[in-house]
C-alpha cells in the first residue's frame, strides 16, 4: 500500500471524530478576550510595540503556551484511541502494511491537525482584527504575509514537540499516563523559556519562538534571540529519536 493511500485511509478514520469542532472552539475562545480587552493594546507604548502588533502577538502567545500543545495532546488521544477502542488496530496489523509506514502516516495526520488549528487561529485573527478595527476606530489589520510568517514559525518549531507527544502516546499504553505526561509536560514550559537550557525542552519551542518575536517587535524590550546553530541539531535529534522510538514501539503491545 502506498503512503498516500495509507494517509487517505487515516484521514477517513477521523472524519466523524468532531476533532475539527474542538480545535475551532479553542481558537474562538483564544480571540474572544482579545476583542473585549482591545483597548489594552494602546497602553503598551512603554515597551515600544505598536497596538496592532501587540494584538497579534498576545493572541499567539496565548495559543503557543497552552492551547495549541494541549489540543495536540487531545489529537494524539484521538489517533490512538480510535484504533484501540474497537480493536481496529488488530485489523490494521493483520494487513500487509509496514507498521512503520502506518506510524508515520498517523504522525502526518497529527501534523496536519496542527497545521489546521494554526490556520484556524490565523483565520479567527483576521475576523477579530476586523471587529476590533471597527470597535476601536484604529486599523488592527496586519499584512497577511507577516501573520502567515509568524504562524509558520509556530508550526515549524512545534514539530519536535509533536514528535515527542506522539512517542508518549504510542509508548505509554495506559491512556491516563499518556495524557497526563503530555499535559503535565506543557506546564513547566513557562519556566523553561527563561533558562539557558530551553533548547533541551521541545515543549517550549513554539512558546519560545513567539516570545523571541515579541522581543523583536517591542523595540524597548530585550528577549533572547534564537541561536539556530545550537537549536537545530537538538531539535532534529529529538524529532528523529522520538519518531524512531514511536515507529519501533508501534503495535508492539498488540503483537505480544
Amino acid at each position: 500500500m502506498s503512503f498516500s493511500s495509507l494517509l487517505s485511509v487515516e484521514f477517513k478514520k477521523i472524519k466523524r471524530s468532531k476533532i475539527l469542532l474542538i480545535l475551532l472552539a479553542a481558537t474562538i475562545f483564544l480571540w474572544l478576550p482579545a476583542i473585549f480587552n482591545a483597548n489594552i493594546n494602546f497602553t503598551m507604548q512603554d515597551i515600544g510595540i505598536s497596538p496592532e502588533n501587540n494584538f497579534l502577538i498576545q493572541g499567539f502567545l496565548g495559543m503557543s503556551w497552552f492551547m495549541f500543545p494541549a489540543s495536540m495532546v487531545v489529537g494524539t488521544v484521538l489517533l490512538t484511541q480510535t484504533e484501540r477502542s474497537n480493536k481496529g488496530i488488530l485489523k490494521m496489523l493483520s494487513l500487509p502494511i509496514s507498521t512503520k509506514k502506518l506510524c508515520i502516516a498517523k504522525f502526518t495526520v497529527l501534523l496536519s491537525l496542527a497545521a489546521t488549528q494554526i490556520l484556524m487561529a490565523v483565520g479567527m485573527y483576521f475576523v477579530s482584527a476586523a471587529i476590533t478595527t471597527q470597535t476601536q476606530g484604529y486599523n488592527f489589520m496586519l499584512s497577511p504575509m507577516f501573520v502567515l510568517k509568524e504562524a509558520a514559525l509556530i508550526f515549524a518549531f512545534s514539530i519536535p514537540m509533536l514528535a515527542v507527544f506522539w512517542m508518549l502516546s504510542v509508548c505509554i499504553q495506559t491512556p491516563i499516563f499518556a495524557v497526563g505526561a503530555g499535559l503535565a509536560s506543557i506546564v513547566p514550559s513557562v519556566l523553561m523559556i527563561n533558562t539557558k537550557l530551553w533548547f533541551a525542552y521541545p515543549m517550549c519551542y513554539p512558546f519560545y519562538v513567539i516570545t523571541a518575536e515579541y522581543g523583536k517587535l517591542a523595540t524597548k524590550m530585550s528577549t533572547n534571540d534564537i541561536n539556530l546553530s545550537m537549536l537545530l541539531p537538538v531539535a532534529i535529534a529529538v524529532t528523529v529519536i522520538a519518531l524512531a522510538i514511536a515507529c519501533f514501539r508501534f503495535g508492539q503491545a498488540e503483537r505480544r
Binding site: 471524530s17 468532531k18 476533532i19 474542538i22 472552539a25 479553542a26 475562545f29 483564544l30 478576550p33 496565548g62 497552552f66 492551547m67 494541549a70 489540543s71 495532546v73 487531545v74 489529537g75 488521544v77 484521538l78 484511541q81 477502542s85 495506559t174 491512556p175 491516563i176 499516563f177 495524557v179 497526563g180 499535559l183 503535565a184 506546564v187 513547566p188 513557562v190 519556566l191
Partner: protein, 236 residues
C-alpha cells in the same frame, strides 16, 4: 457499596498512581522554586503562606485542574470503552448513583493531592521561613478553601465526561474550558466564577462569596447530570 465497586473499577487504570504522581509533581514546584531562588522570597514582609502561594499557586493549580479533568475523563472512558456502560444500565440501580460514586472518589483523590501540596508548603515555610501556630491555622483554612473550590471543576468535568462516548471529545472540551479559565482575569468577579477558573483562587477577602458560588455550582452540576440522564433516556 457503590464506592467500593467504583474504586475496584479504577484498580488497573493507573488512576491512583496518576493522582499521586501528579500531586508529587505539583508539590515539587514550591520546593524547587525556593531551592533555586530563595533570595527573591525570604526578605519579603508578607506572611510566608501568601508569599509561597503567590509565587507558585498558578502552576500548582494548573496541574491540579489538569489532573482532575484527566481523572474524570478516564473514569467514564473505562465505562464506554468496551460497552461496560450497557451492563451498568441493565443493573438494578440508578445511573446517577454511579455519577455520585465517581464524584466522591474524584474529590477524595483531589483532597489527597491538595494534602500533599499543603505538606510541602509547610515544609518550605519551616525550612526557609519561620512557622508559628498561626501559620498552620492559615494553612488549614487555605487547604479547605482550595478543596472546596476544586469541587465544581470536578463535578463539571464529570458531567462533560459522562455525556461524551469518546475520550478525546470530553478531554477536548475540558481542555478548551481550562484554556478559557487561564484567559480570564481575576479582576472580573463574575467571570472568575467560571467553574474551571475557581481552582486558581487563593484565600482572600472575597473567600465567602467564592465558597457560596462553589456550593451553588456544585448543585447546578449535580442537577445538570440528573436532568441529562433523564433526558437521554427519553431520546435514546
Amino acid at each position: 457499596m457503590m464506592l467500593f465497586v467504583e474504586s475496584k473499577k479504577l484498580k488497573r487504570t493507573g488512576f491512583i498512581a496518576a493522582f499521586l504522581g501528579g500531586g508529587i509533581l505539583a508539590s515539587l514546584i514550591p520546593i524547587l522554586n525556593m531551592a533555586v531562588r530563595s533570595e527573591n522570597f525570604v526578605g519579603l514582609s508578607e506572611r510566608p503562606l501568601k508569599i509561597l502561594l503567590d509565587a507558585n499557586w498558578q502552576m500548582m493549580a494548573m496541574l491540579n485542574v489538569l489532573l482532575v479533568v484527566i481523572g474524570a475523563c478516564m473514569m467514564y472512558y473505562t465505562e464506554y470503552a468496551d460497552n461496560a456502560m450497557q451492563k451498568m444500565r441493565t443493573l438494578s440501580m440508578k445511573e446517577s448513583t454511579m455519577f455520585f460514586g465517581k464524584f466522591i472518589l474524584l474529590v477524595g483523590m483531589s483532597a489527597v493531592v491538595l494534602a500533599l501540596e499543603a505538606a510541602t508548603v509547610s515544609f518550605c515555610t519551616v525550612h526557609w521561613f519561620s512557622a508559628d501556630t498561626d501559620f498552620f491555622i492559615e494553612l488549614l483554612k487555605n487547604y479547605g478553601y482550595t478543596l472546596l473550590l476544586i469541587v465544581p471543576s470536578a463535578a463539571f468535568s464529570l458531567v462533560i465526561a459522562s455525556a461524551c462516548k469518546n475520550m478525546w471529545v470530553s478531554l477536548g472540551i475540558c481542555v478548551v474550558c481550562i484554556f478559557t479559565a487561564t484567559m480570564i482575569s481575576n479582576k472580573n468577579f463574575i467571570l472568575s466564577l467560571f467553574p474551571f477558573a475557581l481552582p486558581f483562587q487563593t484565600f482572600s477577602e472575597d473567600a465567602v462569596k467564592y465558597c457560596i458560588a462553589a456550593c451553588i455550582e456544585m448543585i447546578v452540576a449535580g442537577a445538570t447530570e440528573l436532568i441529562y440522564l433523564k433526558g437521554r433516556r427519553a431520546f435514546e
